[in-house]
């Protein structure tokens, strides 16, 4: 308890309620809420991450095999369209992970749960990498098809803005020393920035853009041959599971760093050091 509450003016009533909350949680150890405690989530994340990583590896191998050897040549674009199998999953993940970050930001602001903010931190670098991959593969795809690496149309510009929002989040949370303040400032940026995500998604419907419309959407049949569609979805699931695995591993290191003053982290670090020594 000591040290954790520093800076919060712990009035007796407040401290009492805090204590009651902890006791209530201890009385109901089967509740899923117990995983909101970093100490409980740390081992769970450690157990889950390898499974997601293994799933991601298998799906990536299957997806890449289908992408290069099974999916047929496109009638319009020839072989170059195959970059879609990386481009679209990356773009989807970059948008989705930003929404997840905003979700954890809201949860953190409302429930004051430290772990929610840590989850947002853990997701940001992965989302930024997906966003970069989407922009980069898009440029490489645009040159041979459209005839240009880059244009300032609504889709490309709003996706670039998403890249800046990710970088802004990373810079902001690292520029503020006090983790409580850094968490909350970053969460606000994530929440406000999430307005950009529907703009990216619908930009190709709302405005004339050079970027084509969506091939896959919930409201109508996909305009892709089935093999191509299945390959793209497998790659998308691989991207999902990779992101989950990496975020879980990253949140574990964040937990260790943030909770380093506690006894259980000291014990865990001793255990890890002993294992390293062999």
């Amino acid at each position: 308890m000591r040290g954790k509450n520093r800076g919060m003016d712990a009035t007796p009533g407040r401290r009492q309620r805090w204590q009651q909350g902890i006791e209530a949680r201890q009385r109901a150890p089967r509740s899923l809420w117990r995983f909101a405690a970093p100490q409980q989530f740390y081992p769970l994340a450690g157990r889950l991450a390898p499974w997601f990583a293994a799933l991601a590896a298998v799906l990536t191998v299957v997806g890449l095999y289908l992408a290069f050897f099974v999916a047929p040549t496109d009638a319009q674009q020839g072989e170059v369209y195959r970059i879609i199998f990386l481009h679209v999953p990356a773009a989807w993940m970059s948008m989705f992970l930003y929404l997840v970050m905003a979700f954890w930001g809201i949860v953190g602001w409302v429930l004051n749960t430290r772990l929610s903010f840590m989850m947002a931190h853990a997701l940001a670098p992965t989302g930024a990498i997906w966003c970069f991959i989407a922009l980069w593969t898009g440029a490489l795809w645009g040159r041979p098809t459209w005839g240009t690496y880059w244009v300032w149309d609504a889709r490309l510009t709003s996706q670039l803005l998403l890249m800046f929002l990710y970088l802004g989040y990373l810079a902001l949370t690292r520029a503020i020393e006090d983790p409580r303040r850094a968490d909350r400032a970053g969460a606000l940026l994530a929440i406000v920035g999430s307005i950009n995500v529907p703009i990216i998604y619908f930009s190709v419907q709302w405005w004339n853009t050079l970027h084509q419309g969506a091939s896959v959407s919930l409201t109508r049949a996909p305009s892709m041959a089935t093999v191509m569609l299945v390959t793209m979805l497998i790659m998308a699931f691989a991207a999902w599971f990779y992101s989950i695995a990496v975020a879980l591993w990253r949140v574990r290191t964040i937990i260790l760093e943030r909770e380093r003053h506690t006894d259980w982290v000291a014990a865990e670090l001793d255990r890890l050091a002993a294992r390293e020594r062999g």
Partner: protein
Amino acid sequence: MTARGKRLTLILAALALLGGATALVLSAMRENLVFFHTPSEVAEGKAPVGRTFRIGGMVAEGSLERLPDGVTVRFAVTDTAKTIPVVYRGALPDLFSEGKGAVAQGQLGPDGVFVASEVLAKHDENYMPVEAQHAVDQAQRAASTLEP
């Protein structure tokens, strides 16, 4: 209302306000956010004629011709309602062809010919194998011969 409920309401209300404000700004800037204008919009005077702008549409069937100098091409951009003739000196993108989408940047001359400085190909969101495209083309040809 609990403190939690208040915080949640506050965040959701702020988000709704911000979303509304963004929607208003975007709809106000609607004209400036389009990447290109269609030939119909140019005919209605909605395009910034006199300045550099972009037109987009289909390359009209049978309109593409190369001039004897080898680098100048002429074609027409159509949205089926209106058509604008375009002249362009330079290399065309690989996907540029008649019946496909294209976007041209340049200026509209007094003679109504659009002088392009850059031409981009715009492809659609349909992906299919060559055989499937062939079958679609055949079906369309068969359907067109049936018309009276």
